[in-house]
């Protein structure tokens, strides 16, 4: 049997060793480098896209007339306020009823998540329980109004309510004859909306003020305001607030 003779490859040992080392080193050096390049490339691509959005936003912001839009917002705030503003709502609905010649018997509001002691007590009543059972939209106040008067007056009341600046939606109407008059039980919802923000708000595009927005605004601005009543703040937690 012929013995292996390493003396022939001995002169090439160093060369072969170098090639082997280089081949072995490739995955440890080049692969991470490729990974870094891929990440950087992605970072640059995303950065470029974001920059384009930011530049577009700067352009869009430059076109906005701040004074005009602030005035519009003040007007729209009366239709869809940022808070519930229940006291103004009560006074507004009472004013509409009074102008229509109806008398208000009762107004029941659905208690909020944190109910006061009085609200908890009243919520045990059948009417409030019915309201509590309904699924309340987190962006609207739902309440029930009981009114007494003539049917024609009630028609006027609903027309005024539908054209009131503080937007209100009638969910249901029940009418019952009582002597020469009628008792009307109306369930009303009034929306409110606070500004919510989430995500990359800086790079988010400025929402467009479209033709539809302009039409809705024009419609809202001609409605009659019954609820812009300033109610002075009183101390809370006292026995007699008066």
């Amino acid at each position: 049997m012929k013995k292996l003779d390493f003396s022939d490859i001995k002169p090439y040992a160093i060369t072969i060793l170098v090639v082997v080392v280089v081949i072995l080193v490739i995955p440890f050096v080049i692969k991470p480098q490729l990974e870094r390049i891929r990440e950087k490339n992605l970072e640059v691509k995303e950065g470029r896209q974001r920059l384009v959005r930011l530049d577009q936003k700067i352009e869009d912001l430059a076109k906005i007339d701040e004074v005009d839009e602030s005035l519009k917002l003040l007007e729209v705030e009366k239709a869809v306020p940022s808070e519930k503003r229940i006291s103004q709502l009560i006074l507004g609905v009472s004013a509409i009823a009074s102008e229509s010649g109806l008398s208000v018997n009762e107004m029941s509001f659905k208690p909020g998540l944190v109910a006061t002691a009085s609200a908890q007590k009243s919520s045990t009543s059948e009417k409030s329980q019915k309201l509590t059972d309904q699924q309340e939209n987190k962006n609207q106040v739902t309440f029930e109004v009981s009114l007494t008067g003539a049917l024609r007056r009630f028609d006027d009341f609903l027309s005024r309510l539908e054209k009131a600046k503080r937007l209100m939606s009638v969910d249901s109407v029940e009418t019952k004859r009582q002597g020469s008059n009628y008792v009307f039980n109306v369930t009303i919802s009034a929306p409110f909306k606070a500004l919510e923000s989430s995500g990359d708000i800086i790079a988010d595009p400025v929402p467009a003020f479209t033709e539809l927005h302009q039409r809705v605004f024009s419609f809202l601005s001609q409605l009659k305001d019954y609820t812009s009543i300033t109610i002075p703040a009183l101390p809370t937690g006292v026995t007699n607030p008066f």
């Binding site: 390049i37 936003k57 912001l61 839009e69 539908e162 969910d171 909306k193 400025v206 003020f209």
Partner: protein
């Protein structure tokens, strides 16, 4: 006579061959290592270019962000305005103009001289309970409910109960209230199209 054997020449030839192979192999190794190094260098240079580009983009982004933040009042106002108008539009589109149901109900009652005992409307379900003095009054009520003016507002009108008490008739009528949207309802006479 002795024979001449030239061994030196053969050894030199082998040596020369070995030397040539070694040179070629060394050259090939050098080319290989050089190529690998060149590729690595290219990758590094490309990464440097990308890093420079990223740094430039970051600096421009910071600048753009600060300009946007300087005008954040404009953005907040626009966002609040659009959000509220969208909410208003949603309500105006989905609310039912129930005043129309009462207006139509008044017309029905007046024409037929009927008396309303009870009525209710939830969603699109409309229920009417009342009485009429005589059969001609009831005929008028039925005719009116089927008139084109009323069918635009009430659909699927059904008489669920009719009973007579003396000369008068007590009835229960159920129907579907069709109109939806306050904006469309009020647009015709108040808003230019």
């Amino acid at each position: 006579m002795a024979q001449e054997i030239n061994l030196v020449q053969e050894i030199a030839e082998e040596e020369i061959k070995k030397g040539v192979y070694k040179k070629k192999l060394n050259l090939a190794t050098l080319v290989f290592v050089g190529t690998v190094l060149a590729i690595m260098l290219l990758f590094f240079v490309y990464w440097l270019v990308l890093a420079g580009s990223a740094s430039l983009i970051n600096s421009r982004t910071r600048d753009a962000e600060s300009r946007i933040l300087q005008e954040n009042r404009k953005e907040i106002t626009r966002r609040a305005l659009v959000t509220k108008l969208d909410e208003a539009n949603k309500l105006l589109k989905t609310s039912s103009p129930y005043s129309l149901s009462i207006t139509k109900l008044l017309t029905l009652l007046n024409n037929s001289k009927a008396t309303l005992s009870e009525s209710g409307i939830t969603g699109s379900e409309f229920r009417l309970v009342g009485s009429v003095r005589n059969s001609s009054g009831f005929k008028r009520l039925a005719d009116d409910l089927n008139s084109p003016e009323m069918t635009e507002v009430f659909a699927d009108v059904a008489l669920t109960s009719l009973s007579s008490s003396g000369a008068s008739y007590d009835f229960v009528i159920e129907a579907r209230f069709l109109p939806t949207g306050l904006l469309t309802e009020l647009q015709g006479d108040q808003l230019p199209q």
